[in-house]
């Protein structure tokens, strides 16, 4: 392998993503921000807030604390 092209300056806004967020991920993230702003910071606030806003899990179910934890772990690890 030879030297990579050395491009100056390196100015890359996104350095932590491994993929472009899907529409589902964007909607989930924006809804979470709204819940944190208006409803609270507890896990119960989050789950209640998502369900009250009719935002469903990828399989179409209402959220539970367990499914939310698992999904965040998948998306945020």
């Amino acid at each position: 392998m030879t030297t990579e092209a050395t491009m100056w300056p390196y100015l890359t806004p996104h350095q932590t993503r491994d993929h472009e967020p899907t529409p589902y991920e964007l909607k989930l993230a924006r809804t979470l921000e709204e819940i944190f702003t208006h409803d609270g910071h507890e896990l119960a606030d989050v789950v209640g807030g998502l369900n009250a806003r009719q935002v469903r899990t990828p399989s179409g179910e209402p959220w539970t604390e367990e499914t939310f934890r698992t999904e965040m772990h998948r998306l945020g690890a």
Partner: protein, 340 residues
Amino acid sequence: MPLSVSDTADHVYAHGLRNQWHPVVPSHFVAPGGLRKLTALGENWLLFRKADGTLSMLADRCPHRGAPLSLGKHLGDRVACWYHGVEVDGSGTVTSVPGLPGCNLEGKTLVTSLPVREVGGAILAYFGDDEHPEPADLTLPEPLTDPAVSAFLCYAEWDVPWRYAMENLLDPMHGAFLHHESHTMYDGDTQAKFRIRETERGYFFEKTDQRGVNFDWVELCRTGVDWVDLSIPYPPSAGPGGPFGIVGMACPVDAERTGVFFWRYRRVDDWQRDTWRFLYKTLIEERHWQVLEQDRVMLEAMPADADQYENLYQHDLGVVRLRRLYQGQAAQQSKAAPQS
């Protein structure tokens, strides 16, 4: 060629202090089995990584006639110069002179190699001068080693002298003005009294009359590598976990350019950690980037002689202290006759 003590103090101040560690580039800039050329402290270097991940940093200068080794070929455990094929391993030792087998260059360590460490996704290297080749003790920033902290590295390259990048960090007051239009620093008083508080490893520069509202304090830490620690509150939209911290470092590339390293970190665990990381990658990272761009635009627009014609006031004490420290150290590191 190691860094020379015969460089003038002005040269050292302009190109970066020696006998300490500096970050150079993110780890992923040099893949396993890869080579990467870079400039740091005004010199050209080559990062060389073996397939197993082992990393070396060599002066980018062939011991034969000085051609850049970075134009050469990666041979797995050594690099072959493109010009006449001389082979050098990761320790800087000539392993083979193909044009003249048995040549007395073989077996000699003729290329400077710098000690390297990797932390939080970045490569740190020790830049000793020719009187201080042994690496200085290095204590890594605890936010980057504490498992209770979750950090993301942001790296960017600015056309700015390294000292301006550092001075910007020792100037918390710019937060309330330059970053007033931002997601994190819109709040807080635009007037403040500051004080300097000495610590074992550096000093705090902090507001005496406001904390936890804007960019209100910064600690300069000199622990073998120079870094700053600071904290900025997140708005409620960022969820639980409190403020985010920044560990900041700068790589003096040359007299006009700097690589900046910002680790954004938060003390979070469990679902709060995962949620913050998800929001960071999806939405927050981009907003942080916009704030950083405000710094870059301002600093790149500063005139080259900005620090020659100033009228400083109380908010600039942190910067004044930093300059005195760095200029004093540059003078110490130079054995060149002082210029008149």
